[in-house]
């Protein structure tokens, strides 16, 4: 087990070094950062939601959009660069198991996305914090209710986003394990992420006692095959209205994400074992 962990750690580290050097990563993190910072300039477009909500929405959107793109494209790219350049041949001819290889790729990419999520969250936190101070002063002067901003909620949200991206990476790795080409892995991976983002529709219908047995059966299978990625999007509530979030919500969503990650990685390993390098 110790050797397993050590080999996985080494592959993780090299994958991380490779990923962090990619221009694509630098480009998206700069774009995401610019989006978060510019949200203050666009706040005049807000229609009565409260300025902080508008700014937070910009940040959450940047993290969601660019994080998903990064998760799908970078994972597939890192996987196929090993296969196409035949570095996987060198690695897998050593006493490295397919599971170690796949986990190394997973953790390496996930580590890079941790940087992405936490850098953007830090920026967003700074913007929200500075604006909330100004708005609080203004509210005090005008005798209005001050808007709420929870830094702890932002940390919880960042963790959930990171977990969501972990599930995305696991999905794409599973698809890439059985895919022949990079393009196929990216397209199918992106579709799977979109489907996962919409999976809640099936779950919502299942929560209500309606529809035929067949219809409900199809929805049951769909809701089990695809992860519910929408459940990670509770940023608004966590950051701006933390009292509305049930105490165990973050923990439950995190556990759900972790189980999905394990399930996808196990399936990915099974597929990758059958793959001829």
């Amino acid at each position: 087990m110790k050797a397993f962990m050590q080999r996985t750690t080494w592959i993780t580290w090299v994958t991380f070094l490779e990923a962090i050097r990619q221009r694509f990563f630098a480009f998206l993190i700069v774009l995401g950062g610019a989006m978060v910072l510019s949200s203050v300039a666009f706040r005049f477009m807000d229609f009565g939601h409260g300025e902080l909500k508008f700014v937070a929405d910009f940040g959450f959107g940047g993290m969601f959009l660019f994080g998903s793109v990064l998760g799908v494209v970078m994972t597939a790219q890192l996987f196929f660069s090993e296969i196409d350049n035949r570095t996987a041949l060198t690695l897998l001819a050593k006493p490295v198991s397919r599971a170690e290889f796949l986990l190394g790729k997973f953790f390496g990419t996930w580590l890079v996305l941790a940087i992405f999520v936490f850098v953007l969250s830090g920026l967003l936190g700074a913007v929200l914090w500075s604006r909330s101070i100004e708005l609080n002063e203004l509210a005090e002067k005008m005798g209005r209710l001050a808007p709420e901003f929870s830094p702890g909620g932002l940390v919880a949200f960042a963790l959930l986003q990171w977990l969501r991206l972990g599930v995305v990476i696991a999905i794409v790795l599973t698809i890439a394990s059985g895919a022949r080409t990079f393009l196929y892995a990216v397209v199918v991976g992106a579709l799977a992420v979109v489907a996962g983002q919409l999976q809640w529709i099936a779950q919502d219908v299942l929560l209500k006692p309606e529809g035929s047995v067949w219809y409900r059966g199809v929805l049951w299978v769909t809701s089990r095959l695809l992860p519910n990625l929408e459940q990670f999007n509770i940023g608004d509530a966590l950051v701006l209205d933390p009292t509305s979030v049930p105490a165990n919500a973050v923990v439950q969503v995190a556990i759900s994400g972790l189980i999905y990650m394990v399930a996808f990685l196990m399936l990915g390993t099974a597929l990758f074992r059958r793959r001829e390098i």
């Binding site: 050797a3 050590q6 080999r7 080494w10 592959i11 090299v14 070094l17 490779e18 050097r21 350049n85 035949r86 570095t87 041949l89 060198t90 690695l91 897998l92 001819a93 050593k94 006493p95 490295v96 198991s97 001829e276 390098i277």
Partner: protein, 284 residues
């Protein structure tokens, strides 16, 4: 359990190609044994199934039929792979790593103990003459250096069996000879080496045994001297041969029933000439 380093019996590999799943036979009923402590050459034209055979031996590709044994294990277990080093054809490594970092990385993956890591890495770099360039990023390496650093990563964990797939492909003759010397050095240390190569001259020089494959089948296998020598012909090299001396020699041989079929000047190989002319030049 066999005493051979590698044993392959009735190995067959079919690939499915196209949407209709047409079968393409890459290896066809191959049987061979690689004895321990020898340099074994696997020869054949492109697409004859050499690389596929090596991949099956290393567990990277599954066989359609047949059995293999590697270092006494019935398939390429992690233990067997720990005792094996592999240099793939046209190796490519992460360009951002330095040569030393790559060898170190591969050493850790191959299970070299942390206490022996530094020594193992330096030994591998020394053997492959890469010590000087080891601090440079791999992206700056020439083709020959890439092959040598590839060799270093393959032997850093002191494997019993080293599999080299086209180790001299794209390397100039000087580098090629250097790699040949490294192979001989490894043999002298008791390693078993499997060498896939197109450079027949080099194979002839370094290999103890050869196997020739064509269209997935084994067409010839044996010791190099055995397969190359013509038992019904002999070569005598003579200095200062005058026409009279030649006529007398032919008459003497004819008296014993022998017949001179050709008299030519011995030729040096172009490789020998090249080596002589560029002696001292280094691949850097």
């Amino acid at each position: 359990m066999t005493s051979a380093a590698i044993s392959v019996r009735h190995l067959t590999k079919d690939f499915r190609v196209g949407l209709r799943g047409l079968k393409l036979r890459a290896v066809d009923d191959l049987t061979l044994e690689v004895p321990r402590g020898q340099v074994y050459g696997l020869l054949g034209p492109n697409g004859c199934g050499k690389s596929t055979t090596l991949k099956i031996i290393l567990g990277l590709v599954t066989a359609t039929a047949g059995e293999i044994s590697i270092l006494g294990q019935t398939y390429a277990t992690a233990e067997a792979r720990r005792r094996t080093g592999f240099l793939p054809e046209a190796p490519y490594f992460h360009k951002f790593l330095s040569g030393r970092e790559l060898v170190r990385y591969c050493a850790r993956l191959s299970g070299v103990a942390p206490t022996q890591l530094d020594q193992a890495v330096e030994e591998a770099l020394t053997l492959t003459a890469m010590t000087e360039a080891a601090g440079r990023p791999i992206g700056t390496y020439s083709k020959g250096m890439l092959q040598r650093i590839g060799l270093a990563q393959a032997i850093v964990h002191d494997p019993e069996l080293v599999i080299l797939d086209e180790p001299t492909a794209g390397v100039d003759p000087v580098g090629s000879v250097a790699i040949g010397r490294m192979i001989q050095e490894m043999r002298s240390r008791g390693k078993t080496i499997v060498l896939c190569s197109h450079l027949l001259g080099q194979v002839e020089q370094v290999c103890d045994r050869v196997a020739i494959m064509d269209r997935g089948k084994l067409v010839l296998e044996g010791r190099v001297e055995e397969v190359l020598s013509r038992r019904d012909r002999h070569v005598i090299t003579v200095e200062s041969l005058t026409p009279a001396a030649r006529a007398a020699a032919e008459a003497a041989l004819a008296a014993h029933g022998a017949k001179v079929t050709s008299v030519t000047h011995p030729r040096r190989s172009l490789e020998d000439l090249f080596q002589e002319l560029v002696k001292g030049s280094r691949d850097a």
